[in-house]
Assembly symmetry: C2
Homo-oligomer: 300 residues x 2
């Protein structure tokens, strides 16, 4: 089951040559160690740990959200059942922790990321019960705070643990913050792709976020504008945008109300801030810098 | 949800004064630190970590096994839903790891226990698809191996991390083994209570293990005797012992075939071995010794 979820085998255990994820988090860990002046190999335990935590979180997320597809294939719970998938997720997490158990400094960051990840997921889940608009609506600050935890923590841990195993523990606190900000940019881009992305690239059904009424930033930002498009969007979401036509119409209204543009602007702002920190801490890290930029470039 | 699962509140968040578990694992950690000559308080992070891992494992176990009751109350997933309960379990685990993240030596044992716990649960789940008797049946060795992981690992980690935080890391490897053996005795006693225990004490419905056809040691040992009672038992289990009468009859046949006696003998053997190690490592640990003995005494 771990091999399936990591994209190494199909559901019958046969070798599988498909999409096994972008490997963003391990790449950050290895490039951080290299930028710190150590061989990339020195950060392999950190790279493995963050990728396993990422895999764990996807497996459990898909169970929680009842998402049936992941990376062009059935989600793990869909292929093997909920109980086994839950336990496989636990196993991935246990193995992640084992990678860094002996390194107290790195473990501290991994552990912090775990706590933030779960807090972020909890906040994300709680957003579902909040109204789309009005006094109880999710604010932009609440959304970025949730994203700092849900997506940022693990990118922060990738950078911090990579640089620690690369011998520059002094840089870890700032690279942790760099990774967290990068995470917000990354999540905002994911939100945009979740509405306007090509399902052939994302591996998920088109518009699944809108269809499920998930509270993503572009939609929240559109609704907060309070113009005509926002009113029409609110009415449409209230009725439930279930069929292809109304989902496409909702996406159009989000764009018309400026939700997409605002998400892009905010992503750029978080990316810039992350890059400023990165340039300051590790000025020679050209590959790492290029990777960070490419994460936000997926929408262009 | 964490407060509910730890027995501190009811499902509406009101304070609850009920059964919040025996606290065996934290007691072992604290008593080990004390026996090592340190204040019990020095092992509080270890005590908290092992209790949180235990709570995590119960929450996820109940989801996997679809058990609806835990400690005289609804299981967490029954009270709050599967998704939230799954995430609450993850949170308990994340917080457990955070307790010991800074202590590499203790973290190594906690991490090892996590991996063993998941491996043990996986083996336990795989047993369900095996036949009751014949060439593919679960052997006594396989059963104890599963139990060393599922129950023993965390008791081993409680003892090892307790003694490490108490300043006697040199004793950790042997106390880890002591805890694992104690875990086998503890699990065997739980198996016995799962069939013949008082639901008012165990907090679970009577005979739930037999009713669900769970492969516990007394049943496996009974079937392996291959006598008349074993044959009748096999036929009954094959038909599915669903109603009160056939469950009581199955319990009687397990006892008649000697399954209960063999489970008690094996529990005593593992307890004796654990006590020998304990007396050798920490000769003055009277309270700890009494606690270990009491865990196996619950059947008398």
């Amino acid at each position: 089951m771990a091999a399936f979820t990591l994209g190494w085998s199909d559901a019958d255990g046969r070798p599988y040559e498909g999409n096994s994820g972008k490997g963003v988090r391990p790449a950050i860990a290895l490039l951080c160690a290299e930028a710190a002046g150590a061989p990339a190999e020195s950060a392999v335990p950190a790279a493995v740990a963050v990728e396993l935590v990422h895999a764990f979180s996807l497996v459990h997320d898909d169970i929680i959200d009842l998402d049936e597809r992941r990376r062009h294939r059935p989600a793990l719970w869909k292929a093997y059942g909920t109980g086994p998938a839950l336990l496989a997720g636990d196993a991935l997490l246990a193995l992640a922790v084992a990678q860094l158990a002996g390194s107290g400094e790195a473990m501290n960051y991994l552990s912090r990321a775990l706590v933030e990840l779960v807090q972020g997921q909890t906040a994300d889940m709680a957003f579902e019960d909040r109204p789309w608009r009005g006094p109880g609506a999710v604010t932009a600050d609440e959304y970025t705070e949730m994203t700092l935890g849900k997506t940022g923590g693990l990118l922060g841990a990738a950078a911090a643990t990579g640089v620690i195993l690369g011998g520059r523990a002094d840089l870890a606190p700032r690279l942790w913050e760099m990774g967290r900000e990068l995470g917000v940019a990354f999540q905002l881009v994911d939100d945009i792709l979740g509405i306007w992305g090509d399902p052939g690239v994302t591996g998920k059904p088109a518009d699944s976020d809108l269809r499920r009424g998930k509270k993503t930033y572009p939609v929240l930002a559109a609704l907060a504008t309070d113009g005509a498009a926002a009113h029409d969007l609110a009415a449409l979401l209230h009725a439930g945008a279930a069929d292809e036509h109304s989902v496409r119409r909702a996406a159009g209204l989000v764009e018309e109300a400026g939700g997409r543009a605002e998400a892009e602007t905010l992503a750029d702002r978080y990316l810039s801030s992350a890059l400023t920190t990165l340039d300051d801490c590790l000025p020679g890290a050209a590959d790492l810098r290029a990777l960070c930029v490419s994460l936000a470039d997926r929408i262009h």
